[in-house]
């Protein structure tokens, strides 16, 4: 994951694209400066699992669980956190069964 970091890769989704109850593993944080640094320091390291706990009643911000504690991010900020869907935790999401 070096220089060639395309944003539009099909598997390149952000925290914002996830639904309540989804789990995902962090891939990278876009952006720079204070925001990125703060997230890293709070444990948003590549490989760490995040749970989307809930959306606020007004749909923004989002509550996450990471490293055993709860934290909230605005949607615009969540968009900067690139993740990979955790295939072990959410097997049903991929295979939508139809009657």
């Amino acid at each position: 994951m070096h220089q060639a970091r395309k944003q539009t890769k099909p598997d390149s989704i952000s925290l914002r694209d996830l639904k309540e109850g989804d789990r995902a593993a962090i891939k990278a944080i876009r952006g720079e400066g204070a925001f990125k640094r703060r997230l890293l320091e709070m444990g948003f390291m590549p490989g760490t699992t995040v749970l989307i706990k809930k959306y606020a009643p007004l749909r923004d911000p989002i509550e996450l669980v990471i490293k055993g504690y709860h934290v909230s991010l605005r949607r615009e900020e969540a968009q900067k956190v690139l993740v990979r869907r955790d295939p072990i935790q959410t097997p049903d999401n991929e295979t939508d069964k139809k009657p």
């Binding site: 204070a34 640094r37 703060r38 606020a56």
Partner: protein, 732 residues
């Protein structure tokens, strides 16, 4: 105190320890447990971050405890972090105690790694260890202490357990007698170390700073492009350019190697180290279970019920503050007037009595009545904060506050402004970023406080139909809200552009606050109000008193005194002969009112009002309205009583006075101008008390002056717009 250690012969020694830790780590609770109520609250020099210093004696030591701001790290991105690390480097506390939330150990140890780089005397307080034990997780404190070279102690702040052992450890570490203390070097990996080691040697040889910094820390921070460190290096060593160049070279090299900024890589390395330590000392809880906190949260931030519950809470806080607070408010008011009467009766009539009674007692008394409100409000806010609900309130309302360029946490102070701006502005302390705090402070006065209501009631009573009064007053409140939003957006785009502090907010587990903690926090805030406000209010009241009392030698248009004396004699005669003197008494009251009105007109404050008349002429306010607005600077209730005096209806008028309403109707004021007058009252600075709080909370005269200045200008502009646009539309 401890028999095992023969220190009884020694004299008392003093120690200084600093408490570091994440926000919500229970640091404050532990601070209270160590120091009891013996502490002092102030500000860190030059910034608005609160500084708490406490005192304790232990085992023959006088210990000063400094509570550092809660931080997740020690970068230069927030003032809190800069304050914390500056203190450790510059003030060199004897021991740094890192308060760790045991339930959040991984993230906490990340901060430990940085503290260890800064200080060789660190003690870890594994706080809230009781809930850790309940969850089934285990920490091997012995091993943790050995691995980090910093002893670890289990504590439970709110129960006070483990404090004794913690203090014993602190003392031993300070005395260099603890076997576990050793300087460790947190490894950054082979490649990075191959740069760090030689650079550190160079930094050491260069002696870059007057106050010695740990050289490895200097290099790491410089490589992380830490703004403070780079600036300090430039200032400290203009001739040592090569060192900075070398740093820059290494930064580029590391970047090309890892494809990431060194700060990202370094952070990963520290977390890697923490993970390694935890693997050896930490046993995870057996399973994830739904905690009590999660259950509470399911309701409090519920999609449907979350907001209603929130408004219910706010309503309850309002009720407690202003309804329950009304009774003690009344008592204080009664007490003040009783005291004024008491003093009045025991002093000779004259200037001194007037100064004491009309200036000092009634001036300070007018602010003292707010004490119950302030104490109750702060009790509620402390409860919301200590319980963890404040973070949820921010979570629920952030979407709305974001429109104003503010953090969700600014919601509660805004709402409180409808009660009283002074405590509301003090409540902005809950905001972490200085920018957010200043922005909230600037727009808070636009929330129409309860003291402004009497003015609205009077004016609408005089100029609008009773059935419209509610709508008219409501529209004024709404105008304040709209202006707050507009100003918030304007300021955040111009003078306070959104910088640093992103909205990454921890939602701590719910906890039941301790009564002791609540009382301490409430008292701390109330005390500030008492002490600081007393001073400014006192000065302001005396100034206004002097302006309205002098000059003394007023030449009246007629000889009121003689006339009044004559009428009084007549009344006495008529009464003694059994006749009715009511008509004469009315005449006397009218004369007294006319005399007072003339006296005020001739006083300095009257002259100021008259001098300001041209300024207010475009708004079609006459000189009496101008004087009322000037006196209203002290407090908005005064506007009503000043109008009462100037419109010659008497000195004891309130907003329901028929006489004053009639007098206003007879004046040149039209409903349109009256509305503009209310808008002016809404917008310009609420009261002297608020100015004093703004000064205190922004820690800057510049912001205070700006706040007053912009409010007056805005008030004028809005009032002008109302009058002009209204006239064009034919509403005048």
């Amino acid at each position: 105190m401890t028999p095992s250690r023969p220190r009884t012969m020694k004299q008392t020694r003093s120690l200084r320890i600093a408490l570091a830790g994440n926000p919500n780590s229970g640091k404050t609770t532990l601070f209270n447990a160590i120091t009891g109520a013996r502490h002092h609250v102030g500000n860190w020099p030059g910034v608005t971050v609160e500084k708490k210093e406490g005192y304790a004696s232990f085992d023959g030591f006088d210990i000063t405890v400094i509570d550092l701001p809660g931080t997740y790290s020690l970068t230069a991105y927030s003032i809190e972090e800069i304050v914390a690390r500056r203190f450790i480097v510059h003030e060199k506390p004897d021991v740094v105690v890192h308060v760790i939330d045991s339930g959040n150990i991984e993230r906490s140890l990340f901060l430990t790694t940085q503290l260890l780089q800064l200080s060789s005397k660190v003690v870890l307080a594994l706080n809230m260890s009781d809930s850790l034990a309940q969850s089934g997780a285990r920490i091997d404190t012995e091993k943790l202490g050995s691995l980090l070279g910093a002893p670890a102690v289990l504590t439970v702040g709110h129960k006070g357990s483990g404090i004794r052992e913690l203090m014993e450890t602190v003392v031993r570490v300070a005395e260099d007698q603890h076997p576990k203390v050793r300087k460790i070097r947190i490894p950054y990996g082979h490649e990075i170390e191959s740069h760090l080691v030689p650079l550190t040697e160079k930094a050491e040889a260069l002696e870059l700073f007057e106050i010695p910094h740990p050289p490895r820390w200097v290099v790491i921070k410089a490589l992380e492009n830490d703004s403070e460190m780079i600036k300090a290096l430039r200032d400290a060593a203009p001739e040592r350019v090569t060192f900075l160049e070398e740093i820059e070279e290494t930064r580029k090299h590391l970047f090309s190697l890892y494809g990431e900024e060194p700060e990202t890589v370094f952070t990963e390395r520290l977390y890697g180290f923490v993970a390694g330590v935890l693997k050896e000392v930490y046993t995870e809880p057996p399973m994830d279970r739904i905690s009590r906190s999660d259950q509470i949260d399911a309701l409090l931030t519920h999609k449907v019920f979350g907001l209603p519950v929130f408004f219910l809470m706010v309503w309850a806080v309002f009720q407690l503050t202003f309804a329950v607070g009304a009774a003690p408010m009344e008592w204080i008011d009664t007490l003040v007037s009783w005291f004024a009467g008491f003093v009045s009766a025991r002093m000779d009539e004259g200037l001194l009595r007037s100064l004491v009674v009309d200036g000092v007692i009634s001036g300070v008394g007018s602010v003292m009545v707010f004490l119950p409100n302030i104490f109750i409000l702060f009790m509620c806010i402390s409860f919301l904060e200590d319980s963890g609900y404040m973070a949820r309130a921010a979570f629920l309302t952030d979407r709305v506050m974001h429109l104003l360029g503010l953090h969700g946490k600014a919601f509660i102070p805004m709402l409180m402004g409808f009660g009283c701006n002074a405590p509301a502005i003090m409540a902005t302390r809950t905001l972490e970023s200085e920018r957010d705090r200043i922005l909230s402070i600037l727009i808070n006065p636009l929330m129409s406080c309860s003291a402004r209501l009497p003015v609205y009631v009077l004016i609408t009573g005089a100029f609008f139909l009773p059935e419209r009064a509610g709508t008219v007053i409501f529209s004024i409140y709404l105008l304040g809200l709209v202006l707050a939003i507009a100003m918030g957006r304007l300021f955040s785009k111009t003078i306070l552009p959104g910088k640093s502090a992103p909205f990454v907010m921890e939602l701590p587990p719910y906890r039941l606050p301790t009564a002791r903690g609540l009382l301490i926090h409430t008292w701390d805030r109330g005390k500030i109000f008492l002490r600081k406000m007393g001073g400014v209010i006192l000065l302001g009241s005396v100034a206004i008193w002097a302006l309205s009392t002098f000059p003394r030698d007023v030449t009246f248009s007629r000889d009121y005194d003689a006339k009044i004396t004559r009428l009084q004699e007549q009344a006495a005669v008529r009464e003694s002969s059994g006749g009715a003197a009511a008509g004469l008494e009315l005449e006397i009251a009218d004369l007294e009112a006319a005399r007072e009105s003339e006296r005020i007109e001739a006083s300095y404050i009257g002259r100021i009002g008259k001098a300001m008349e041209p300024v207010f002429r475009p708004l079609e306010f006459d000189w009496r309205d101008a004087v009322a607005l000037v006196t209203g600077f002290v407090a908005k209730e005064i506007v009503v009583s000043t109008l009462g005096v100037l419109y010659q209806v008497g000195t004891e008028e309130d907003e329901k006075s028929e006489g004053l309403i009639q007098a206003l109707r007879k004046s040149s004021m039209t409903p349109l101008v009256a509305y503009a007058f209310m808008a002016f009252v809404l917008i310009y600075t609420p009261c002297l008390g608020t100015v004093a709080v703004i000064r205190r909370e922004t820690n800057s005269w510049k912001w205070t002056a700006f706040s007053v200045g912009y409010a007056v200008v805005l008030a004028w502009l809005v009032a002008f717009a109302i009058v002009r646009v209204g006239t064009v539309l034919g509403l005048g």
